[in-house]
């Protein structure tokens, strides 16, 4: 591997491994009066945090990198894993660098986790981010604007200064640049997945949850330049698949590596969807808060936690398969994930109607054995290729 690429991959790998959030601590220590705000999946308006001069930090559980000792005592066996490891991170002082936590309205577990946070850490700022499910600008838009106004005021209070419109416009601009870079990365991977393996793309993406956005955009751009220079990344006879269900609790990295080793090129996914939530740019001129509101109403990703008034669940997935010239879909959802698992039958119906093959399995963020998944994904990949050849 080219030393520059090796260095970049090593950097993002280290960030991924850093469950003590040393990077965030270092960032705070590098200047006076710096603050960091944590957020859970999927979407929060990070532009507001950035505009307050603060660092948005994605809290995505601890994966397979932390033994859960205290967290299990807070949750029954039938509740997913991400809240356990998140509580464990907090109770072991790994989240001390955070000056507040935002809990978006993904599901009832994350919703209730916001209440647990209020009880466990009464001295910290906690806000439940209730995303509107009504997409009429005069109704859901008005509500969302008021919610954002409150959040803006709260963040300004923590930062010690009001968030000015000009600062927010600047933040929208830098996040637009980041979103463009990420769209470019996803398009590049879709075109030539052998040059941009998902196990690497994921780490590059994930760095965006802890680094300042400007720095992350530079890393993404650099990766886009460096990865195609690798001479040993050759096209192979593998199946092109779309991966669905990983928008909240993250899979262990080993699972992504396993899928690729099993013969699957991942050409689209919903990993870390919050970083790519907006389908396009947020307008940079005019009232910046209103621009965030309208962007949410009109450009939000289609995923299980967002209501679709038109009721066309699964259309986006079929379109993704077609757009990315995928040959099949792998449903890969965390155990006990209500949004993903309740959504799945509707997506399956849409794929069946379109004649798109699919397979499914579940994981937990700390899954350590991948033999069965490898066998299943490998069989799926083989069967797709056999059908294609027929």
């Amino acid at each position: 591997m080219n030393p520059d690429l090796a260095h970049l991959v090593e950097r993002v790998s280290n960030l991924y491994e850093d469950i003590a959030f040393q990077t965030v601590r270092d960032w705070k220590a590098a200047g006076t009066g710096r603050h960091a705000i944590g957020y859970m999946p999927i979407y929060v308006p990070r532009e507001l945090i950035h505009a307050a001069g603060m660092l948005p930090v994605g809290i995505l559980g601890a994966g397979d990198r932390l033994e859960i000792i205290r967290g299990d005592a807070y949750f029954q066996s039938y509740i997913c894993h991400i809240p356990r490891s998140t509580i464990e991170l907090a109770l072991t002082q790994r989240l001390e660098a955070l000056d507040g936590m935002l809990f978006p309205s993904i599901c009832d577990v994350i919703r209730n986790l916001s209440g647990m946070w209020q009880m466990l850490f009464p001295e910290r700022y906690v806000r439940y981010v209730d995303l509107p499910q009504n997409f009429d600008p005069a109704v859901g838009g008005t509500f969302w604007r008021q919610e954002l106004d409150t959040l803006r005021t709260d963040l300004g209070r923590i930062a010690g200064r009001e968030i000015a419109d000009r600062d927010l416009r600047h933040s929208i601009t830098v996040y637009n640049e980041n979103r463009r870079a990420l769209r470019q990365l996803y398009e590049a991977r879709s075109e030539r997945p052998w040059l941009f393996p998902t196990s690497e793309v994921y780490l590059v993406l994930r760095a965006g949850t802890v680094l300042p956005v400007e720095e992350h955009t530079e890393i993404v751009r650099r990766y886009l330049e460096l990865a195609p220079l690798e001479n040993d990344r050759l096209e192979q006879d593998m199946s092109r698949v779309v991966l669905v269900g990983m928008f909240c609790e993250q899979p262990p990295l080993g699972l992504l590596i396993t899928l690729e080793r099993a013969g699957c090129w991942i050409v689209d996914d919903d990993l870390l969807l919050g970083l790519r939530w907006m389908g396009g740019d947020v307008p940079e001129r005019g009232d910046p808060l209103e621009n965030l509101v309208i962007a949410y109403l009109e450009q939000s990703a289609q995923t299980a936690s967002v209501y679709q008034p038109e009721g066309r669940r699964g259309t986006w997935l079929v379109e993704s398969v077609q757009h990315n010239v995928a040959e099949g879909v792998i449903f890969c959802a965390p155990s006990f994930c209500d949004p993903a698992l309740l959504e799945q039958p509707m997506l399956v119906a849409a794929l069946d109607q379109a004649g798109i093959p699919h397979t499914q399995f579940k994981y937990s963020e700390n899954t350590g054995q991948f033999a069965v998944i490898r066998e299943q994904a490998g069989t799926f990949s083989d069967s797709i290729r056999l059908w294609s050849e027929a």
Partner: protein, 432 residues
């Protein structure tokens, strides 16, 4: 005072009001079965945040899938329905109310009383306090192709307050989304006077229900506010809020409990009146429905009476003062939706349960944690600790499910309940 009826488990003691309640609910299922031939339109909706007075003002009949599911559970039908849904690809990990409903639909949509449930003319998705509701009706929308959906997003009371823009948001959705669709489906114009009249009937029934629930503050309690309480809430959480029949039922119920109180009688259980109240408990979480009677028996056999419960507040938190208000109908509906128990933050839920432990002179509290319902269950172990710390009263924790018979382990649950009550007894002995 009571009369006997027979079910598969033998003679069951019931209060007069329970028989009346059964008549009401049975009558509603009959009306639903006749709805299509009589040209009546039906609206599917959920218990928390239900807008029964509004629907009724358009002469629409409500269908509540949770009620169908729990009734199917009590009639031992839910296991087959859940299996059917799982065969169709629904995950074993998700809510069994949803799977029971889907399974019932796939098997012909015959309701729990053996009569057909009509297809919906509208799915009124009152998205209140439960994420699964949204997915549930999205799934139903796929089954009932072309059926319109009205979405009402009720903001969560995350910081323990109802902010004015929450109320405004709901009222605007009622005006721009819900009412126009009700008008379209019913062919009738919105009649606010009719709504006001229904809301007045609701408030009367709510007064009487609160009196009944608060009668459990007496020692001994004349009611069981959980196992008996689920019968008491049936009409008001179901199709009868805002109706004369509903108001009459609660008047009858109140008179009955007043009489029981005057005679210093304990609660009626399926095996007759409870003679001795040995333990007073507060319970958090829904009951198990598939073994409801067996579950109840585990308590009353030991002389344990539930004096307050959170489950009886899922369809409205009336005992903290809320009443439907005909003078501001839509705002009142908004406040009702916002205040349902599962729409409260965890700290607010702990505050409420703490108040119950104190106000109802409880010896202990138990959590029945159900696998199906993350809205209730996520965070309950922390609630348990907080309540123990704040009240000094020991808590018990049991696990079961709503309507999946595979998750009701009678021996384990009985063992836990008995051990817990023994601990209360020892604590009492030590204190003496």
């Amino acid at each position: 005072m009571s009369h006997n009826q027979t079910d598969r488990n033998g003679p069951v003691q019931k209060e007069r009001s329970m028989a009346l309640q059964k008549e009401l609910i049975g009558g509603h299922f009959d009306a639903l079965a006749r709805a299509k031939e009589e040209g009546r339109k039906v609206v599917y909706t959920f218990v928390p945040g239900n807008l029964t007075e509004l629907m009724r003002s358009f002469d629409l009949l409500p269908v509540l899938p949770e009620i169908n599911a729990l009734q199917s559970g009590m009639r031992k039908l839910s296991g087959d329905y859940i299996s059917e849904a799982e065969k169709q690809g629904h995950s074993e990990d998700v809510c069994t109310y949803v799977k029971c409903d889907i399974g019932m639909l796939k098997k012909g949509n015959i309701g729990p009383t053996g009569k057909p449930i009509p297809e919906p003319d509208l799915l009124l998705l009152s998205y209140t306090g439960c994420f699964t509701f949204m997915k549930w009706f999205e799934l139903l929308r796929q089954e009932y192709e072309g059926c319109p959906v009205a979405m009402l997003h009720v903001p969560y009371q995350a910081d323990g307050h109802v902010h004015s823009h929450y109320r405004d948001y709901i009222v605007e959705q009622l005006r721009t989304e819900v009412i126009p669709k009700l008008e379209q489906v019913s062919g009738q114009a919105y009649d606010e006077d009719k709504l006001r009249s229904n809301l007045s009937l609701s408030a009367k029934a709510e007064d009487d229900l609160v009196w009944v629930l608060e009668s459990a503050k007496n020692v001994p309690s004349p009611i069981d506010a959980y196992f008996g309480g689920v019968y008491y809430i049936g009409p008001i959480f179901g199709a009868f809020r805002g109706t004369q029949e509903g108001a009459d039922y609660y008047q009858t119920l109140r008179a009955e409990i007043e009489e029981r109180l005057a005679n210093q009688q304990g609660p009626i259980t399926p095996d007759g009146e409870l003679d001795e109240e040995r333990y007073r408990l507060v319970i958090e979480g829904p009951p198990n429905w598939t073994s409801f009677r067996e579950f109840w028996k585990m308590f009353y056999e030991e002389g344990a009476v539930v004096v307050a419960s959170s489950y009886t507040k899922v369809g409205g938190l009336y005992d903290r003062g809320f009443r439907h208000d005909p003078t501001c109908p839509l705002e009142s509906l908004a406040d009702y939706c916002l205040g349902c128990y599962t729409n409260l933050s965890l700290p607010a839920r702990v505050d409420l349960l703490e108040d119950y432990v104190r106000e109802y002179h409880a010896d202990g509290f138990m959590i029945n944690s159900v696998k199906s319902c993350n809205s209730f269950s996520a965070g309950q172990l922390l609630m348990l600790r907080q309540l123990e710390e704040r009240t000094g009263v020991p808590g018990g924790f049991i696990e079961s499910d709503l309507v999946d018979p595979r998750y009701f382990s009678a021996a384990n649950i009985k063992n836990r309940i008995e051990s817990y009550l023994q601990m209360l007894e020892q604590k009492r002995g030590a204190a003496a």
